[in-house]
Amino acid sequence: MSTRTVEYEVGRSPEMGVDGKPAYGPLAPVEIPEPELGSEHMLINIGPQHPATHGVLRLVCELDGETVLKVIPHIGYLHSGFEKQGEYRTWNQIVTLTDRMDYLAPLIYNCAYVMAVEKLMGIEVTERCKVVRVILMELDRIFGHLLWLGTTAIDVGAFTPFLYAFQEREKIYALHESLTGARITTSATRVGGMMADLPEGWTEACRSFINELPRTIDEVDYLLTTNAIHLGRTQEIGVISAEDAINHGFTGPNLRASGVPYDVRKDRPYYDYETYDFDVPIGEHGDCYDRYLCRMEEMRQSIRIIDQALDRLPGGSIDIDDPNVVLPSKTDCMNDMESMIHHFKLITEGIQAPVGESWFSVEGSKGELGMYVVSDGGSKPVRWRVRPPSFVNLSVIPKLAEGHLVSDLIMINASLDIVLGEIDR
């Protein structure tokens, strides 16, 4: 394994060197001597109920001393039958299932699902809806990354970032709640538009949130980025090369930490992402530390996108003008016979999607989130399939953890940013 020269600040008030600048000490690689004693391989089981597995993941490890020889992940402990359930739900009812799938960034899943259905039905949503969805998706990218930041910091022994991250998450909870009425299970989107338009004062609250957030990110940055313990726990841990990452299907920040500049927002832009000015952070070494850096930078870039989107937020209707897809307003429904009929038909039968199938993928907070819907012309899908980014990312953990220590396995697992609700579905 190639060693990387690591420099870190020694303490908060570093000693001054001869030239009057802070003295930096290199993190020297430690030569671990070959064991002289005989050893016995050990099989240990981590999970499914374990505080460090980020859910009900179960890892069976074969150990030689403290070194991991082999990891066998067992998943399915949270298999909830989402896809089967979706075949018994109308197109709009599935939205409520999507946010229970990834409860760390629910709005991205809400949006991705309706985008696939809209593509299948050939619906072009209004400009306002597009911008609102961009804001919501970027907001939940921050939402997901903040939780990842807090829990991962706990795994390496730092509790403070958890409290900082949840302080900010509470503000996003409040934004969710004022928009949808729920803190986590938002179900904010509908085919052809949104459940409701942004409430009064929401954009100002969102603006003030993104104005305050960088301070917290900087504080966590200050706590972790040059922290010797954090560096020692993350650098050179769980390294994967770009070729392997592609072959294993890595996407999202995990892939970009290995140096592959693949981001769905840039490569297959949707909702005018090509017109937003933002950068995609790319790592170099593909280790846990680069994954950390990528996510930290992604939060800053998301703030930039939200800032631009709030500036360009157009007026007008948020729903498309198609009575076969969008519910009429309550006033119309009570005063107009035709609206009443449409309302009745939409509620009792649901939207009718044309025969066919569509695949739509967005850049989720965990990686590329694909939605694949197949319709036979009815009001319910024949098949609703989610391409789960965490599922694919997690399948690489046997390769990443091989040869590391058990404590590194915990860090590697944390650095992948998994969510079991979506892995097991």
Binding site: P51, G55, Y77, L78, S80, L163, F166, R183, L420
Partner: protein, 248 residues
């Protein structure tokens, strides 16, 4: 001094009774008139055991160590409850015990598929008595929106549940309220019922709590959610009255 008048009809004649004015752990003083009162009264809980109940229940309910069995969305709200805004530590419950051996209350937060059911049962069996179980959220309580092939339709088919918290997911306030309901339930417990309430049946370990016909009844459409209040065994669910906690 907050003295209470005792009913003089209670036959108390054993020797060694606390003298009037003796300070007691509850902060009050013995209300017995001189010459009466005793440890071993015939019939019913005696004066001293009642006060011991109070002390033990007080200490138990104010340092509950939860075992967070978090699986899905509700686990995130549970984390939010423990974080700075809601701060479970105010109620003496911030010490999340990830080992079931040292835990008092099992918070089952999130959906439980059949694949996870033996894990839940094992964790419950591993916990020491006295133990309480909170079923947090709609999925844990009744299967929620997941009425399909893989989901347990309410964890009360697997383990006995003390408090159900509705919501999808419940807000942190809901979880805190549920934990306070557990406190309320502990407050009502009596040591004299302990052998009945807290007996461990080693043969029950690893088996579903409910019998097969009961599971069928519970898991029918809308079955579990309508039966939960009766199953929970809560004496009062309407309000939380905590007069004792106000005393020093």
């Amino acid at each position: 001094m907050g003295m209470k008048e005792t009913e003089s009809t209670t036959p108390i004649d054993a020797p060694g009774a606390p003298q009037a004015g003796t300070p007691l752990p509850g902060g009050g003083t013995s209300a017995r008139p001189e010459g009466s009162g005793g440890l071993f009264g015939s019939g019913g809980p005696t004066f001293l055991t009642t006060r011991l109940d109070w002390v033990i229940n007080w200490s138990r309910r104010n340092s509950l160590w939860p075992m967070p069995f978090g699986t899905a969305c509700c686990a995130i709200e549970m984390m939010a409850s423990a974080a700075s805004n809601y701060d479970l530590a105010r109620f003496g419950m911030e010490r999340m015990s990830f080992s079931p051996r040292q835990a008092d209350v099992l918070i089952c937060a999130g959906r439980v598929p059949y694949k996870l059911a033996p894990v839940l049962r094992r964790i419950y069996d591993q916990m020491m008595q006295p133990k309480w179980v909170i079923s947090m959220g709609a999925c844990a309580s009744s299967g929620g929106i997941f009425d399909n092939y893989s989901m347990v339709q309410g964890i009360d088919t697997i383990v006995p549940v003390d408090v159900y918290i509705p919501g999808c997911p419940p807000r942190p306030e809901g979880l805190i309220y549920g934990l306070m309901m557990v406190q309320e339930k502990i407050r009502e417990e009596r040591l004299s019922d302990h052998t009945v309430n807290r007996a461990e049946d080693p043969l029950a370990a690893g088996h579903p709590r409910a019998s097969a016909p009961e599971i069928e009844g519970l898991t029918g459409p809308f079955g579990n959610s309508t039966r939960q209040n009766r199953l929970s065994g809560l004496v009062r669910t309407s309000r939380i009255s905590r007069p004792d906690d106000r005393r020093p």
